[in-house]
């Protein structure tokens, strides 16, 4: 709340994801690729294999252009973007881990220097010296992962740090070690997949098949490290986080099992086309395997970020930059007096601070479609009750008056026509829409917090009574304030629900 809120139409998730995904792909490739280059060079020099040495020289040019330029700058880009979209969280990370970051920077200096000297040294250096620099590059690059991994994993599993505030408790947190080895596996797999992709462009002959087999072994070694360490990583995430994620974000947890399938598919394709039939390892196979590999990695990163919700540092700070410890005082004293940067429009300022980190009105995680055709009272009640919604939302951090101000701000931007008119629906179909909008955020039919089975077989009067006393059932539940036509349609829809909660 000490910072202004960067109010842009693009969702923060897209912006952060766009830069971060590119960076993590390249940075992991840069580490695995370093090991690949130096080991492959060592073996090629022993065998005096000029074909492979030429291949490695070309690879290292591309490697420098991608990792030193794009990798390094997207890394700086992540730093820029987190400072823009969540300065409070960046402040937490920098204050706690500045010497970790500074240590990583020393490895970065060595890594970049070594990459450049390795590339320029192909023709001018002795084999021994060239290989020494290659090893220095790889070790420095891997050590930078070892350090940054502590800060990344801290955000999901801060562990003992939450009690002690000690650097090492936060750094060597419960998922630190599994994550180091899982990411090392990713680095090796990506190096193998990339080398396979490059090799797939070569003319098929004995040299190519031998190169494909060599690269395939790399990818398989990476996979062999990834499978057990992924399991280890996941089991070290505290049960409460996993259970909450499974309940509130089933889509995210479903991706975890998807990951196993993706890994299996990659392994089968590599064994089949890389080891057994290397002559058939053409471009289409290489591209498919590469996409599957990146997909698995991408899903892992997405899952890691998503299950942390609603926190940016689990149990310490919400994604909105509000500290958990501040919540009580904010709910009694209000957010507005604590906002250091204001625009004069209190509703808009509150909306930005409380909602905009994760939602826009019409774009990313849009709120307009969720509130079109509703009313101010309903919107305000929904805001106050966000903490119980599916999707792991943080608790509402302001006063009741402030929730009204946010509601006015949102209401001024939504479609004010009745839902039936907006969507052209009538009867039970309209009822389903009413349910989705007014009830579905907290009670998903057949899903999160489903209560439909308890409503099966009721009569009109009982449904009406239920809707009338909605606000009395729990503090977070909004009163049913929809027009009569929507009430009737909702009851009609509720009558269609069969036992068990299916539609």
């Amino acid at each position: 709340m000490n910072y202004p809120f960067w109010d842009i139409d693009i969702g923060y998730g897209w912006l952060m994801g766009g830069i971060a995904i590119v960076h993590v792909f390249i940075s992991h490739f840069a580490i695995g690729g370093g090991l690949y280059l130096v080991l492959a060079e060592s073996s090629a020099r022993k065998l005096n294999d000029s074909f492979r040495l030429e291949f490695l020289q070309k690879l290292s040019k591309f490697f420098v252009l991608v990792s030193v330029v794009f990798g390094a700058l997207t890394g700086v880009g992540i730093w820029f973007i987190i400072g823009l979209i969540n300065p409070a969280a960046t402040e937490v990370l920098i204050h706690n881990f500045v010497w970790g970051w500074a240590t990583e920077w020393t490895f970065f200096v060595v890594e970049i220097s070594a990459a450049i000297l390795y590339f320029y040294g192909w023709k001018t250096m002795s084999a021994r010296n060239h290989l020494i620099i290659g090893w220095i590059y790889f070790i420095a690059a891997w050590l930078s992962l070892v350090v940054i991994n502590g800060i990344i994993t801290y955000m999901l599993t801060p562990g003992e740090w939450l009690q002690t505030g000690d650097f090492w408790d936060g750094f060597l947190n419960p998922t630190y070690w599994p994550s180091v080895w899982f990411r090392t596996g990713i680095c090796i797999m990506l190096a193998g997949l990339y080398a396979l992709l490059v090799a797939s462009f070569f003319k098929t002959d004995h040299s190519k098949t031998s190169l494909v087999r060599y690269n395939a072994v790399w990818a398989l070694v990476g996979l062999a490290i990834m499978f057990p360490t992924f399991r280890w990583y996941f089991s070290n995430i505290p049960g409460t986080i996993r259970e909450t994620a499974a309940e509130a974000m089933p889509v995210v947890t479903a991706r975890i099992s998807e990951g196993w399938w993706l890994g299996g598919a990659i392994a089968i394709m590599i064994i089949l086309f890389g080891l057994a039939l290397p002559r058939f390892f053409g471009r289409p196979v290489a591209v498919v395997v590469m996409i599957l590999g990146l997909l698995w990695f991408g899903e892992f990163e997405w899952m890691r970020e998503a299950i942390r919700k609603p926190y940016v540092v689990h149990g310490y700070m919400y994604g909105s930059g509000i500290e958990v410890a501040e919540l009580e005082s904010l709910r009694s004293d209000g957010l507005l007096p604590r906002l250091a940067y204001r625009t004069g429009d209190n509703g808009a300022d509150l909306f930005r601070r409380a909602c905009r980190s994760c939602h826009t009105m019409t774009g990313y995680n849009a709120l307009k479609p969720r509130f079109d055709g509703t009313d101010q009272e309903f919107i305000a009640a929904m805001i106050r009750g966000v903490g119980v919604m599916r999707g792991n939302m943080p608790l509402y951090p302001g006063t009741e008056t402030e929730s009204q101000l946010i509601a006015v701000h949102i209401y001024n931007q939504v479609d004010k026509r009745p839902l039936g008119e907006i969507y052209g629906l009538t009867g039970a179909e309209l009822g389903r829409k009413v349910y989705d909008i007014r009830c579905g955020s907290c009670h998903e039919v057949g899903g999160f917090n489903d209560k439909s089975s308890s409503m099966v077989g009721l009569g009109d009067d009982e449904y009406n009574d239920l809707l009338d006393m909605a606000n009395d059932i729990s503090e977070e539940m909004p009163a049913f304030t929809a027009p009569d036509e929507e009430r009737a349609a909702l009851i009609e829809y509720l009558k269609t629900l069969s036992q068990g909660g299916s539609r």
Binding site: F80, I94, H95, A102, T103, I116, I132, L162, Y341
Partner: protein, 339 residues
Amino acid sequence: MNVPSHNFLSAPLWLINVLHIVTLSLHLIAMNFLFGGLAVILLGRIKQRWQNPAVLRYVKLLPTAMAATITLGVAPLLFLQLVYHRQAYSAGIVSGWFWLFIIPVVILAYYFLYGAAFTKTPEKHNGRYLLVSLLCFVYVSLVYSTVFALAENPELCRTAYAANPGGLTINPDIGSWIFRWLHMITGAITVGGLFVGWVGKDDDAVYRTGKLFFTWGFATASVFGMIYLFTLGEHLLGLMRTPAIWALTVGIVLSAGSLHFFYKRRFVWAGIMVMLSVLMMVYTRHHVRLLHLADEFEPSTLPIRTQWSIFLVFLVCFVAALGLVWYMLKLFFAREQNQ
């Protein structure tokens, strides 16, 4: 709820300041080689520029200078954010799009530098490639100057944000950054003149071009620097009462001294003096920031909770990194052992 606070410095403030000032000075030296040298090469009158071996040698060094500039730029930004995070992030957000746009612009500049360094037809491509890079650097320097000048004026930052929270504001107080920016870029061109002359010391035309830019750049940068000092208004008086005024004086003397040694073709001494001069200027700059922020923020009031164990790890790694870079350079230049 009993939770740890993050509002602390994990080392004494003086240590963080020293690290910030030293690493920023190193960053500026690398940046001057890159930006200043590039400007001198493009703007200087050198006959058959793209066939001149000294110029081509300089062009080939530019991507490495870029890597050094970026790498050495990370550390001072980290230490700056540790102390001045509220001011730096807030100003960054007010100019959010311009600030973020630095990343693609730098990537573009980097690839064009590599394009120039790798091209087999420099006479055809270098001019265009390097001009794109130069324009990119002008953009980056402009955004840096405007954002950091805004960071030193929290009241203006709040007003600017209230007027436009979408990150599309460039510091509206032009007087606070225009001379600062002009001083920075003319200073960079001055030092660029030194480096071009140094790299081209065996080519009279290139040396003379470097000398011309060094001399006139020094004069111009001094004028802009003076004007910038006067734009400080009441803070100028404050500056006079700090050790920074001595540092500034020593910095000016060292710059003049480096010019003298450059004329004598004693490049190592000229380079050392320029480096020390930049260090003095950065130190002065540090005091100017403190004076600007005095009404709102006093860094010495920040609580300190030291983390000596990880600091020691950093120190060991830092020394090891310097040693390794030195060792690798030794390996790289050990041509007598090469194949």
